[in-house]
């Protein structure tokens, strides 16, 4: 099953493009599952009908679902939740406590499970995920890592310790401070499920991220950072989708200045993302309902099959080599003489002849001195100091 993660800054039109991608996939004969993992679901809004947590056929060949975090938690981990609820009860009003049970990270976990469940049915060959805005999505992607290390190193010890301690602590502090055995079983189940999903997401042949942007500066800046982060967490981005491009017949008159700004930003997008760039024109009407969404999909993919892996390249890679942080950037055809590299705050600027590329550095690299930079075999390797 092919998995497409659509993400980007808030308000750029991720949901519309996820729905349009799903419909275009169905037109190419794929059996498509369209999944919303954004806690602020808008899939129903895009189709102009309620969708909700049960899978629902929204168009021929497209089944949609909005993952309901609270319901899923109830169903899957009632043990874990029961314990938390017990603990939280004294702290806060009950209604608020229930909303709070959606701890940071919980949403991501439930969402991850959903991808696995779609795969397990064996009934779909394309799963399009309408993700939360970039920040949250990136947390979703790193959650398996965090959970893995927790489980592998910490968990067994805690569990043994807790088992031995329960009788003592229960005597000292009344209440359910120490979780029951079922809690641990549920947690282990959860871990195994998340590990499955990790395998799916890290496999570049199956999973691609598609970044949605608008031709606007603030959007492009933030998305550049996401691009680097996705590389860092090992998820391949195979295309950037530029949404709401003013078409030629809308670019004059009152909108003349907006059109000028747009062409500047299109240039910026091309220099920032070394992957295929697809454009979706601004539609003449609100994009709501299957017909309008299908038009949008045709505008983006034209005759292409959206399930295609548009590129297998990983043009930016971050690694750790003999204790040093190394950033590798593919620059095929560049020669040393025409290359300039500079770091400005959190941006790395690479200049080859007249072409410039900006890479926004992850927080852990920004502000570190560049120790060395060298070009070999079309790969620029930048080593950062401590």
């Amino acid at each position: 099953m092919r998995v497409l993660l659509l993400t980007g800054k808030g308000g750029v039109g991720k949901t519309s493009l996820a729905a349009a991608t799903a419909l275009a996939g169905a037109e190419h004969g794929h059996r498509v599952f369209l999944l919303s993992t954004d806690a602020a679901h808008s899939l129903g809004d895009a189709f102009g009908r309620p969708i909700g947590p049960s899978p629902l056929e929204v168009a021929p060949g497209v089944v949609a679902q909005e993952v309901g975090v609270l319901d899923e938690l109830d169903r899957a981990w009632s043990e874990i939740q029961g314990w938390l609820r017990e603990l939280l009860r004294e702290e806060t009003a009950e209604v608020v406590a229930e909303e709070l049970l959606v701890f940071p990270g919980m949403e991501e976990l439930v969402s991850l499970r959903a991808v696995r469940e779609v795969e397990a049915t064996g009934e779909f060959d394309l799963c399009v995920v309408d993700c939360a805005p970039t920040g949250d999505t990136l947390r979703m992607l790193r959650f398996p890592d965090a959970l893995r290390l927790f489980m592998e190193n910490f968990w067994e010890m805690k569990r043994q310790g807790v088992r031995a301690l329960r009788p003592i602590v229960n005597r000292i502090i009344p209440g359910k401070l120490i979780p029951e055995e079922e809690f641990f079983d549920a947690f282990e189940r959860l871990y195994r499920e998340v590990e499955d999903v990790r395998q799916i997401l890290m496999d570049a042949d199956r999973t691609s991220a598609r970044l949605v942007v608008n031709p606007a500066r603030v959007v492009v800046e933030e998305t550049r950072r996401s691009f680097a982060y996705l590389s860092l967490y090992g998820v391949a981005t195979d295309a950037v989708l530029v949404n709401r491009v003013l078409p030629a017949n809308a670019a004059g008159g009152y909108f003349a200045r907006w059109a000028e700004r747009q062409s500047e930003e299109m240039h910026e997008i091309e220099t920032s993302f070394p992957v295929p760039i697809l454009q979706a024109p601004l539609q003449p009407n609100e994009v709501i309902g299957p017909a309008a969404l299908r038009d949008l999909g045709r505008g983006v993919y034209d005759e292409r099959d959206p399930a295609t892996v548009f590129t297998r390249a990983r043009p930016i890679r971050l690694a750790q080599r003999s204790g040093r942080r190394v950033l590798e950037i593919d620059l095929p055809g560049a020669s040393k003489e025409e290359l300039r590299v500079g770091v400005h705050g959190e941006h790395l600027m690479v200049r080859v002849r007249d072409a410039e590329r900006l890479v926004t550095l992850p927080a852990s690299l920004a502000g570190r001195p560049v120790k060395s930079a060298r070009l070999e075999g079309g790969v620029l390797e930048i080593v950062f100091g401590p």
Binding site: G11, V95, D145
Partner: protein, 396 residues
Amino acid sequence: MRLVLYTGKGGVGKTTTAAATAVCAARRGLRTLVASTDSAHSLGDVLEESLGAEPREIATNLHAVEIDARAEVERHWGRIRDYLVSLFRFQGIEDIVAEELALLPGAEEITTLLGAEGWQQSGDYDLVVLDCAPTGATLRMVTLPDVAHSALRILLRLQGALAAVVTPVARHVVPLPLPDRHVFGDADRLLYKQLRRLRRRLLDPQTSVRLVVTPERMVIDETRRAWTELSLFELGCDAVVMNRLLPDAALSEAFFADWGRLQGERLHEVEEFFAPLPVLSAPLQDDEVTGLARLAAHGEQLFGALAPNALLSAPQRVEFERRAGAYVVRIPLPEADSTALDVAKVDDELVIRAGPLRRTLALPRRMAALDLLDARLDAGWLCVRLGQPDAAEALR
């Protein structure tokens, strides 16, 4: 001192609206500070000023600041983060990933709010305008004092209970890095003092939230749900800003004819959905609204005769509580008449008709799947009970 927070779905123009409000207020003689909680700062771009980590006067009465979230996080969370990094490293995680993992969700936003809280207390300003992250993130930010407070108290209690027994044992079995008392001290200071103070500020009657929307269905739908959730967490809204209405000059472009036809409808919906909140509107300008002059003009169009720092409506909010297995939603309807009351639940919303008055309310997730049990008016409040479907059956 007034605190106004602007929020809304991404891309609707929150930063521009916040900046225009501040410039307008300053020109009308209020000592104003504008700040952004968004780590991808665009406030400086909008004001066309390079901003620093300390408030700087950029015009008469007007200060602006872009908080250096990374430095601030270092200051407030540094030791906690260092401990986490050492823990992750110990687990054999690569350095880069360990550092990224240790960036606590929400830390930057909380830090920004803490900074803003400090300047509010200085007494230097009549009005502080905050440009907040998009709806989802803002909600989390606002709940974080609660979440973090509860979660950490639990952890501390758990730690306290276990420390006496487990830690000495664990230290011998595994040389695991354990947090020292400074880490707990920092956590304690953050939670018990700063976050609580922040929460008090957010719930103060002089604080209000303004929701920014554009005339688009999906934006409006999401913002309605955000409004409900703000109520759930006890934050009061005093106005809605309808941004980017196409002016006549734009509507004469053939391509936008359909958009123009729709926007009247959308404006009407916003007035109805968000009643009793007043709706202020601002046009889509013919270029990006940047620089003090354009922002001032934009602000004048937005506020007209209204004062930018006024409480634009009496803060009324919906209340939620859980009583005897059912949920009770209490909605202020001071002008409603009980003889002509009709309440229905349609999908995930409540539709209320009381004579000529019509209100709709998007329900919190937890309540969306429940059935309507009953509704009654009580001293200007509409009380709606929601419960499990089988409970509704039993009642019949």
